[in-house]
């Protein structure tokens, strides 16, 4: 009876304790108390080409350093020479992110890493981490073609370039873009690391650890060889690097049969081209407003201006629109298209190309002239090319006069600026022009940098406008680009042999230009972009907030194999050049069976349609817009050390993150370790002693049984 009661009461107590655990227990992780994880990190990654590696590398288990904010020259001296707690993790104010400071950091062994604060306050007048002569080895000018013009002997295109993007750093470099996160780091620094009265701060100090360990090393040849070895002989193959690749967008005024390779008819094409990509020092950061968006917006607006007139009065020649991806990295997209054209594996052939008009950087015109750059060598060598180019220039002059745009030619002996047209010239001497807002060197002071954004392009809106109002507000920049687009459209029409009487009907709509500009430099998540894209893409989150980034990157991405900017341009082109059909969704995805639709001539897009309340919902658009693979021919031919084609690859990595925490002095760490080892040895000693003297110590318990008798 008593035993039962005792059992019940014990069980009751156990139940009570378990119930208490469920109500008031909470997980209190030690790791969270120590480390503050920084989200939204923007690293600098390692890129490799045939001969070099560029970018940044950290150790496999991250690089830790005591924080120090670099605000003045004395801070620089403290970090590099006098500070007593090396290695330091430098928090660099914007003004100090320059070539001289970074190279001094590179040569010092006291720097564990750099975190650059990205803001416009304190920004220098110009900052271009790109080289002074972009793509100098893969353009048309070489020892064999215009040697006196090669390597920027005549004109330095990017004189403000400091070449930082092409340096190799052995420590991680991150960018701090989020103001709140920077504040957290600053607070930790101010609480623990400040120097009081010139004396060194005391431990514990605030430190930061940056992880960005890159797998690839040396150059593309080595990396691809090792990847190959891994794939063949290892059980768990590790891929070390991937070639930069994406897709070019192309379209033509008269639809082309996509399945036929190498046009054999006598059709003649005028190519209108621009680039789709940009880059900066950091990974996936590339607002590229003046460098790239100005060209994209102009060409898209020109397409919009041309199409109605082309339907009514088609010109004799076909116009081929091309948007090349990867041009920042030795002309990936254009070299691939020219390569395919040469081997007759593309829908058109180099024989069919009549002439080419490329749109370079045209955004910073501001009442200045537009310049038509041409290649002096081909004009000298071939009289037909000279004739055609002069014709083109004359046409453009007459059109520009009617438009009140001042157009001019740079000095006759000046070479072409870096442009996709140079790759076409390498294959065949075709007449062509490159339109730009700079006479000699670039006007863009932030070429290929994080600061080439809306502010650099002078895109500004009056205050107190809602996003929808901003979308359609015609800024000065939009009006300026609309004028350029009209010029381009009319010139293309004339170049294609169209009638002069129709020219005045070709005008770019400033509203479309304003919408394009808003979508590409301010905010991609707007109602117009939403209406142009398929519903499943918008659901996958392709329209996140902020402007799109133009770095080419690698596939696959979260929303599919194609880069977001390529998809935007593809769908905008479909909207501008396509016709609405009344196919259903399944029919739109597989139009093979329908007799009136031709999958060879057109591509079919299922788009969302307007998001307004009284709209009809998604519909199917038929347009002659296609994607073509933009991966360097060097990878197809497996010539990873090629000097003719781009060999750029991006390294792979496991994790990229950053965290902030407090560190103790080395002496304290050693002391803790020493005490621990001492306790271990002591316990071993005591155990040995106890076990050897066991009989003596524990004998009393054993003696008694023998004496009971």
């Amino acid at each position: 009876m008593r035993k039962m009661e005792k059992l019940i009461s014990i069980n009751c107590v156990k139940l009570l304790i378990t119930a208490l655990f469920y109500t008031c227990v909470s997980c209190s992780s030690v790791e969270q108390k120590i480390y503050v994880e920084l989200n939204d990190t923007v690293p600098c990654v390692r890129l490799l080409n045939a001969t070099h590696q560029i970018g940044c590398q950290s150790s496999m288990s991250g690089d830790t350093g005591v924080l120090h904010v670099l605000e003045s020259e004395s801070d620089l001296d403290w970090i590099l020479n006098t500070g007593p707690h090396p290695p330091y993790m430098v928090i660099m104010e914007t003004a100090f992110f320059s070539r001289s400071v970074m190279l001094r950091m590179k040569n010092s062994s006291r720097v564990a890493g750099v975190a650059v604060i990205v803001s416009r306050t304190g920004l220098a007048e110009n900052f271009s981490p790109h080289t002074t002569c972009p793509n100098q080895n893969t353009g048309v000018y070489s020892a064999k073609y215009g040697p006196e013009l090669a390597n920027c002997n005549v004109t330095t295109w990017n004189p403000l370039g400091n070449g930082l993007s092409y340096e190799d750093f052995a420590f991680p470099v991150f960018a701090l873009k989020d103001e709140n996160q920077t504040q957290v780091i600053r607070k930790c620094y101010e609480d623990h690391n400040l120097r009081l009265n010139g004396s060194a701060p005391q431990y514990p100090l605030c430190a930061m650890q940056l992880f960005s360990h890159m797998h690839a090393v040396t150059d593309t040849v080595t990396c691809m060889r090792r990847t190959d070895l891994q794939n063949r002989f290892s059980i768990n193959p590790e891929i070390l690097c991937d070639p930069l690749n994406d897709y070019n967008v192309w379209a033509s005024t008269r639809p082309l049969n996509n399945s036929a390779k190498g046009q054999t008819t006598n059709e003649s094409f005028v190519i209108a081209a621009t680039r789709l990509d940009g880059r900066s020092f950091f990974w996936q950061e590339a607002p590229a407003a003046e460098g790239t968006v100005s060209g994209i917006v102009t060409l898209l607006a020109a397409v919009q201006a041309l199409y109605p007139v082309i339907q009514l009065a088609p010109p004799p020649r076909n116009i081929f629109f091309a948007f090349f991806q990867g041009e920042a990295f030795d002309y990936i997209g254009s070299s691939k298209m020219v390569y395919d054209m040469e081997r007759k594996e593309f829908v058109i052939d180099l024989n069919n190309v009549h002439s080419m008009l490329e749109i370079g950087q045209v955004g910073l015109r501001n009442g200045r002239d537009l310049w038509m750059h041409s290649d002096p060598i081909s004009r000298m060598n071939s009289s037909s090319v000279e004739e055609e180019v002069s014709d083109m220039m004359k046409n453009m002059h007459s059109i520009a006069a009617g438009l009140n745009v001042s157009l001019d030619e740079p000095p006759a002996s000046q070479p072409l600026p870096p442009s996709s047209f140079q790759r076409f010239l390498r294959a065949r001497q075709i007449p062509g022009l490159v339109l730009a807002d700079h006479r000699t060197s670039f006007v863009n002071r932030y070429y290929e940098s994080m600061y080439d954004d809306a502010e650099n392009l002078n895109v500004s809106y009056p205050p107190n406008l809602s996003p929808e109002e901003k979308l359609v507000y015609e800024t000065e920049a939009a009006k300026s680009l609309a004028e350029v687009a009209t010029l381009v459209a009319r010139s293309l029409y004339k170049q294609a042999g169209g009638d002069d009487s129709n020219l005045n009907n070709i005008t770019a709509d400033p509203k479309i230009v304003a919408q394009l500009l808003y979508g590409f430099v301010i905010q991609k998540n707007n109602s117009w972009f939403q209406s142009l894209l398929p519903p499943d893409l918008t659901k996958k989150g392709i329209l996140s907030s902020g402007p799109p980034q133009f770095y080419i990157g690698l596939g696959p991405r979260t929303y599919g194999p194609v880069h977001s900017v390529t998809l935007f341009v593809q769908h905008i082109m479909a909207n501008l050049t396509g016709t609405v059909t009344n196919l259903t969704e399944t029919q739109c995805q597989k139009p093979d069976d329908i007799s009136t639709e031709n999958k060879d001539l057109y591509a079919y897009f299922w788009v969302s349609g307007s998001t307004a309340v009284n709209s009809s919902g998604p519909f199917c658009v038929r347009a002659p817009v296609r994607l073509s693979k933009a991966m360097s021919p060097a990878f197809e031919r497996q010539e990873y050390g090629s000097q003719d084609y781009s060999t750029w690859t991006e390294s792979r990595w496991k994790s990229i993150r950053a965290r902030v925490f407090l560190v103790a002095s080395r002496e304290l760490e050693m002391l803790t370790l020493g005490v621990g080892v001492a306790v271990l040895l002591l316990s071993l000693l005591v155990t040995y002693f106890l076990s050897s003297k066991a009989e003596l110590l524990f004998s009393s318990a054993r003696e008694t049984p023998t004496t009971t008798y």
């Binding site: 590398q57 360990h213 890159m214 797998h215 090393v217 060889r225 070895l229 590790e238 390294s651």
Partner: protein, 101 residues
């Protein structure tokens, strides 16, 4: 196996087998031979088979030293120069470290 309980002839044959086996590019057999039979060969009071065991142990020790020298040299050279050898280095390696030369 406890050497105390084995008759001397078997000890000799064991020692010989380990010695001969080491010639098949198995230096660890020589190492085991030296460690195991050291006490038998040099520290125990003399018995008939001991001189032969002693000679086997000495020869195993010699072979072992040679192997250690060769391997140490090769490993030092490889670790130091592998990165510089480029393609050859990669083909000779079993695992190549990620992210560093």
């Amino acid at each position: 196996m406890n050497l105390e309980r084995i008759p001397n002839e078997e000890k000799l044959s064991l020692c010989r087998r380990y010695y001969l086996g080491g010639f098949a590019f198995l230096p660890f057999l020589w190492l085991v031979n030296v460690m195991w039979f050291f006490k038998e060969a040099f520290l125990k009071p003399a018995y008939t088979e001991q001189p032969q065991i002693k000679s086997y142990v000495k020869k195993s020790a010699l072979g072992l030293l040679l192997w250690v020298a060769v391997l140490t040299t090769w490993i030092t050279i490889f670790q130091h120069f592998r990165a510089r050898w480029g393609e050859v280095g990669d083909y000779l390696s079993f695992t190549i470290p990620l992210g560093s030369a």
